[in-house]
C-alpha cells in the first residue's frame, strides 16, 4: 500500500551521446543541439543535451517503474532547469506528497552536476 511520504528509489540515468541522440529522434525532435555537438557548442552549449520530451518521458518512466504497470499517469507537470549534457549522470529522486480523490501526487527531482535539471509533479491513479 502506497503511503503519503513514501520515497521512490533513487534512479540514475547515464546520458551517453547515444542516449541523448536516440531519445531526441525517438521523440521526433530534430533540433541540432540534440544531435550535433559542433553546432551545439557553436551555439554556446557545453555539449549536446537532452530534449524536453525525453525529460517528460523519463519522469513518466521513473514513476511508473515504481508504481507498477497498471498505474495510470494523468499529469506530468515539470519545470526545467539546468541542461542535461551528454556524459552527465541524471539522478532522480521522488516522494509521494499527497493523496487526492482519484490518485496520488508524486514530487520528482532530476539532478545533474550543474543543478536541478527538472523539478515537477506527476499525478497517477493506481488500483485500490
Amino acid at each position: 500500500m502506497i503511503q503519503v511520504g513514501d520515497s521512490l528509489p533513487e534512479w540514475h540515468v547515464e546520458a551517453t551521446p547515444t542516449f541523448v541522440i536516440s531519445t531526441a529522434l525517438a521523440t521526433r525532435d530534430f533540433q541540432d543541439v540534440h544531435h550535433d555537438r559542433d553546432l551545439a557548442v557553436s551555439r554556446g552549449s557545453k555539449d549536446i543535451f537532452v530534449n524536453i520530451l525525453t525529460t517528460t518521458g523519463l519522469v513518466q518512466r521513473y514513476v511508473t517503474d515504481w508504481a507498477g504497470h497498471d498505474a495510470l499517469v494523468r499529469e506530468v507537470n515539470i519545470r526545467l532547469g539546468a541542461p542535461c549534457y551528454a556524459y552527465d549522470t541524471l539522478k532522480f529522486f521522488g516522494q509521494v506528497v499527497s493523496r487526492e480523490e482519484a490518485g496520488l501526487v508524486i514530487e520528482v527531482v532530476g539532478r545533474v552536476p550543474q543543478g536541478d535539471h527538472v523539478v515537477g509533479t506527476v499525478k497517477i491513479e493506481v488500483a485500490a
Binding site: L53, Q60, E75, A127
Partner: protein, 307 residues
C-alpha cells in the same frame, strides 16, 4: 501597451489555431523506438498479451508520447497560423533572440491506442515581460495545446518559454571573487581558537572544572557550570558528519559553489569549516584540517580529504 504587448494581444485574440493532423496515426513502430530509447519496459506498450490482461485491455501508447505524434519532424515547418511561432517572430524582431523552455505541464485525459489519429491546436495564453532573469532580459510566453481524436480532447499541455536577449557574455564570463573575505568576530570566548589557528593548532575548548570538550566555544560549561575554560589541541582529523553545497547567494571572498562540512573530530566534538579538494563529498569522508593564512590577524581552518 507597447508593441510587443499589442502583437501578443492580437495573436491571443485569434484563439485556437486550426487543427493540425499528426503525420501518422499512433503506431507500434514509433512506440517501440520510444520505449527502447527511454528504456521503458512496461509491457502494456508493446506486448499484446500482457496488455490484454492489464487495466488497458489492449496495447496503449505511453502518455508522455502525446506530443510526439504531432511533432513537425526533420523537415517540418511551423505554419504561419501557429501562435507560438508568430509570437517568437515578434520577439525575435524586438531583439529577444534566444529561447529556453521553462515549464511543460501535460494532462492526459486517457491513453491513446494504436491506429488512433490525433490532431493538435494551439493558442497563445499569456505573454509577460520584460523580466530580468539570470539569462538576460526577456519575455515569458505561455501557450496551451490541445490534442484531439475526432472531437474528443485526449491531452492538453501548457507550455512556457523564456524568450530573452542574451546578457553580454565577456563581462560575466568569470565570477568576480576578489572581494574581501568576511572575518569572524573575535571575543574573549573565542580568541584562544583564532590564536590557535595562527599558530597552526586546532584548539578545542575543554572545561577547567570537569574536563568536558565542547565546541563552539562559550563562557560556561553546560555540564558543571565552571567558567574557567582551557583547551586541548586537536589532532585535526575526523570524518564528514554532514555537509551542504552552497550555490547561492554569493559570499564575499568565495567562489560558488563551495562545500561547508560539519566534521566530527576524533576527539568527539563537531566543527564546521569549508571542505576543499574533494572530488566527491560524502558523509563519512575522512578529512584533516588545513590552515590558510588570510592576513597577519586571521588564519582560517578548513578541511581536506585525507588518505
Amino acid at each position: 501597451m507597447n508593441e510587443i504587448e499589442k502583437e501578443a494581444a492580437r495573436i491571443a485574440e485569434q484563439g485556437e489555431s486550426p487543427r493540425r493532423l499528426a503525420r501518422d496515426p499512433v503506431n507500434l513502430p514509433m512506440i517501440r523506438n520510444w520505449v527502447e530509447a527511454i528504456g521503458d519496459t512496461n509491457p502494456v506498450y508493446t506486448d499484446p498479451e500482457a496488455a490484454a490482461k492489464s487495466v488497458h485491455e489492449g496495447l496503449v501508447a505511453p502518455p508522455a508520447m502525446a506530443q510526439v505524434w504531432t511533432m513537425y519532424g526533420l523537415n517540418g515547418q511551423r505554419g504561419g497560423d501557429d501562435p507560438l511561432g508568430a509570437m517568437m517572430t515578434v520577439l525575435d524582431d524586438a531583439g529577444f533572440t534566444s529561447v529556453v523552455a521553462t515549464n511543460s505541464d501535460q494532462t492526459y485525459h486517457r491513453y491513446l491506442r494504436p491506429d488512433e489519429h490525433v490532431a493538435v491546436t494551439t493558442r497563445l495564453e499569456d505573454v509577460t515581460g520584460p523580466k530580468r532573469t539570470a539569462l538576460g532580459e526577456g519575455w515569458f510566453v505561455t501557450t496551451t495545446s490541445t490534442w484531439y481524436v475526432g472531437d474528443e480532447v485526449v491531452a492538453e499541455m501548457r507550455f512556457r518559454v523564456l524568450k530573452f536577449r542574451p546578457a553580454a557574455k565577456p563581462a560575466e564570463a568569470k565570477p568576480v571573487v576578489s572581494t574581501p573575505v568576511i572575518k569572524p568576530a573575535i571575543n574573549r570566548d573565542t580568541e584562544y581558537f583564532w590564536e590557535g589557528t595562527r599558530a597552526g593548532e586546532l584548539r578545542i575548548q575543554r572545561c577547567g572544572g570537569c574536563g568536558l570538550l565542547r565546541h563552539p566555544p562559550g563562557p560556561m560549561c553546560p555540564e558543571c557550570g565552571a567558567t574557567k575554560p582551557k583547551y586541548l589541541v586537536s589532532e585535526g582529523r575526523g570524518e564528514v558528519y554532514s555537509y551542504v553545497v552552497h550555490h547561492h547567494p554569493r559570499v564575499p571572498g568565495k567562489e560558488v559553489p563551495f562545500v561547508v562540512a560539519l566534521v566530527e573530530l576524533e576527539e568527539g566534538v563537531r566543527m564546521l569549516g569549508e571542505l576543499t579538494g574533494a572530488a566527491e563529498v560524502r558523509v563519512g569522508l575522512p578529512v584533516e584540517v588545513v590552515f590558510t593564512k588570510v592576513d597577519d590577524e586571521l588564519t582560517m581552518p578548513s578541511w581536506r580529504p585525507r588518505a
